[in-house]
């Protein structure tokens, strides 16, 4: 066993501590030694159960052990259903104890802004190094003064559809307007292959459909000054259209779906198209022999992606955005920030990004140049997901009020209520009254 003298120990630990203090991640990596944290620093990291399980495996088996070695801390990764992240951070903030880093969706960090550590130092450095964040990233993660959460990724929402089934009913190209999509959907449903869409209380697929749908008809929640304008001719038209569209073309079970149901329905081939991240396609690639079409072909050869159709006011999208929040109750602020710096360093983040196979689009522009996007043409539409897309609360800022509307699923429920039989006018009035309670 090598003998460590007192002099040698002081020299080495002093260099490590100095490097960590002055040079940040580059210096830590250069010294090849962990910064001088208290030996027992344990960081609890809470994330969703990734829809690409290979990425969670990569984190657990490779990246976290590597990070523990480089940073000299213990990292506990916990993964939960995405819909359980908000309850967990609420409980943590109220009790003053909980995970050090918490993954949050969309503009949810705005709800907890007062209880989150300013991440500007890390976010600005990483954003700059990666070619600048997309506007939707700033809308969701910045409260106008500070970065309240660290941008992680964007899961682009595109419609996954069955190429051959669309061809069979005479629509080789994906319909580019809602009218055409309704027509095609009705023909597909008549053949027992409806469109699949959730209108349930679930974080991803529900709002990423209903918000862009509303915008494409010219409807919006509020004006830029926060005045509630949901009760408009345009919104009403969108709701009326939806009720017919739903009955004629959709799988009506979608009212009770969460983010996983449409994946299962598509993969078991009971629906012909659904708005989703690319997880359906990626799963069909992962298990090519498990998913076979009725004609005996591999399902992954029969899936294409397309953007949501356009309405009278244009074509829009809203992508599910992911970031990491660091609550003020955490006693490991520095270690948490160092973990984020490390995991966002190009080499490390790239490993995770590649494991996603295009399901996740990084939050900054330089990643568009990555070769992943050229490897599979089916995934190419997701490359520019970050450039497109509005954020909830449009035309106002995506602030805490917008986040409250999103968390309460008011826009989704407006459509769900109408689909369940409430007159369109009443459904819009209900949404207006709910919005007015928030935007006071």
């Amino acid at each position: 066993m090598a003998r460590v003298t007192r002099r040698k120990f002081l020299k080495v630990s002093g260099a490590g501590a100095l490097a960590a203090k002055t040079g940040g991640m580059a210096a830590i990596l250069a010294t090849g030694r962990a910064p001088a944290y208290a030996q027992a620093t344990t960081l609890n990291w809470l994330r969703w159960n990734d829809f690409v399980p290979a990425s969670d495996q990569l984190l657990r088996k490779e990246l976290i052990p590597e990070g523990e070695k480089v940073l000299g801390i213990k990292i506990n990764l916990e993964t939960v259903n995405g819909n359980d992240l908000q309850p967990r951070i609420t409980a943590g903030i109220q009790s003053g104890a909980g995970p050090d880093l918490v993954m949050l969706f969309n503009n949810h960090p705005q709800l907890y802004a007062a209880s989150l550590v300013d991440m500007s130092d890390v976010a600005e450095a990483v954003g700059k190094a990666d070619g600048g964040y997309y506007p939707l990233v700033k809308s969701n993660s910045n409260d106008g003064k500070n970065w309240i959460s660290m941008p992680w990724t964007i899961v682009g929402g595109m419609i996954a559809y069955r190429k051959s089934w669309f061809e069979e009913i005479g629509s080789p190209e994906f319909p580019d307007t809602w009218e055409k999509y309704r027509e095609v959907g009705a023909k597909l449903k008549a053949k027992g292959r409806p469109l699949g869409q959730t209108l349930g209380h679930t974080f991803g697929d529900a709002p990423t459909f209903t918000y862009p749908y509303l915008w494409s008809w010219g409807g919006k929640e509020v004006e830029a000054d926060g005045k509630v304008v949901i009760n408009s001719k345009e919104t009403l038209e969108s709701v009326k259209f939806m009720t017919g569209f739903w009955k004629e073309a959709h799988d009506e079970g979608g009212l009770a779906w969460d983010d996983t149901n449409n994946n299962r329905a598509f993969l078991s081939q009971t629906i012909s198209a659904t708005l989703n991240g690319a997880s359906i396609y990626i799963e069909s690639l992962r298990n090519p022999d498990k998913y076979i079409t009725e004609k005996g072909a591999k399902l992954n050869t029969d899936i294409l992606h397309a953007a949501l159709p356009k309405g009278p006011a244009g074509q829009f999208s809203m992508h599910t955005y992911f970031s990491h929040a660091l609550p003020k109750y955490s006693k490991n602020e520095k270690a948490a920030k160092d973990l984020l710096k490390w995991v966002h360093s190009k080499d490390v983040y790239e490993k995770w990004f590649v494991s996603q196979k295009g399901f996740a689009t990084p939050p900054a522009a330089d990643w568009e140049k990555h070769k992943v996007w050229d490897e599979d043409k089916v995934m190419t539409p997701y490359k520019v997901a970050g450039r497109l897309g509005r954020t909830p609360g449009y035309a106002g800022p995506s602030n805490a009020k917008a986040a409250e509307v999103l968390s309460k699923y008011i826009i989704t429920d407006m459509y769900a209520k109408a689909v369940q039989g409430m007159p369109a006018e009443e459904a819009v009035k209900w949404a207006e009254s709910e919005l007015k309670k928030i935007y006071v």
Partner: protein, 310 residues
């Protein structure tokens, strides 16, 4: 000699102060009741008082907030989802209690007879009550799944339906689904508790009635039922309180959906308080249950006392 010595020592030694206190029955009673009081204080009284304090502020998650009086109660009173939750809670509690009582009583009467495998059947009946609710509710969720429902498959293959029943996507069917699961889960509790009650009734009373010419129904109505009533009231009381504040079944099965159609007090309070972070409003929704439950408890306890002193 040794025994004598010890006796002498014990007799002569002055009693420690602590021991003297425990000799006093009032102090002993106090010491015995302290652990219960501490537990009740920590887990019942403190959260309850904290809930009341939260409900009269405008506190959000991470923001302590200011005193706003009854503004939150006023706000929820004008909230259509809250009104739906109130209606749902009464409907859910009322319908399930009637079914649980009738099915539970019926089952208890059956189990009270002598038959082969009685002990095994009695244990088996308890299964729905023993399995963790979240686990069994997940199984039910799959059975009512909009796309892969095994119930639909079964009904379709026996020719009872031609299309799919949209169990959880239709507001009424979603309500029926959660009611079915609650009844399934609650019947064993009623059955076993009422069975215990039935076993305290002396068979001689029924035999005497039979000799006097009473028919089975008359024997039940005039002998068994009145004697079983105190136990029944206690069981109903527990069940009403539990069902009124039910959370797990609805949270797992529907999450309060579709479009808030199946929210109960507890699930809506959770969605607003914990999901959205509006703690004070969530506390107000939760507390709105309290007066109703208090009335139920007072009414039933008074009734039980009347029956017992009759």
């Amino acid at each position: 000699m040794a025994v004598q010595a010890i006796t002498t020592t014990l007799g002569e030694a002055p009693q420690p102060r602590r021991q003297r206190l425990l000799e006093d029955e009032r102090w002993l009673a106090f010491f015995l009741i302290v652990p219960t009081m501490v537990l009740l204080g920590m887990f019942i009284a403190y959260p309850f008082v904290r809930g009341i304090l939260l409900s009269v502020t405008n506190s959000r998650v991470g923001v302590p907030g200011d005193f706003v009086g009854l503004a939150n109660f006023h706000k929820i009173w004008n909230d259509s989802i809250f009104r739906t939750s109130v209606y749902n809670t009464f409907l859910y509690t009322g319908v399930t209690t009637v079914f649980k009582l009738s099915l539970g009583l019926w089952l208890a009467m059956l189990l009270n007879r002598n038959f082969k495998g009685k002990a095994f059947t009695r244990a088996f009946i308890l299964l729905p009550f023993i399995i963790p609710t979240v686990l069994s509710t997940f199984a039910w969720k799959w059975m009512f799944d909009p796309t892969f429902s095994v119930l639909n498959w079964l009904l379709f293959h026996v020719g009872a339906i031609t299309g799919r029943i949209n169990w959880m996507g239709d507001p009424d069917l979603a309500m029926i689904s959660i009611i079915i699961v609650n009844i399934w889960r609650g019947v064993p509790f009623f059955a076993i508790s009422l069975l215990a009650g039935l076993q305290t009734i002396s068979p001689e009373l029924n035999e005497a009635a039979a000799i006097d010419g009473a028919k089975p129904w008359q024997r039940f109505w005039h002998v068994t039922w009145p004697l079983l009533l105190p136990v029944t009231m206690v069981v109903v009381l527990f069940s009403v309180i539990q069902t009124f504040a039910d959370f797990q079944i609805v949270y797992v099965m529907t999450g309060g959906g579709p479009a808030n159609a199946t929210h109960l007090f507890a699930t809506y309070a959770y969605q607003i308080g914990i999901g959205t972070g509006l703690l004070s409003e969530g506390a107000a929704i939760s507390l709105a249950m309290f007066p109703v439950l208090l009335l139920v408890v007072v009414f039933q306890l008074l009734y039980i006392r009347r029956v017992e002193t009759r």
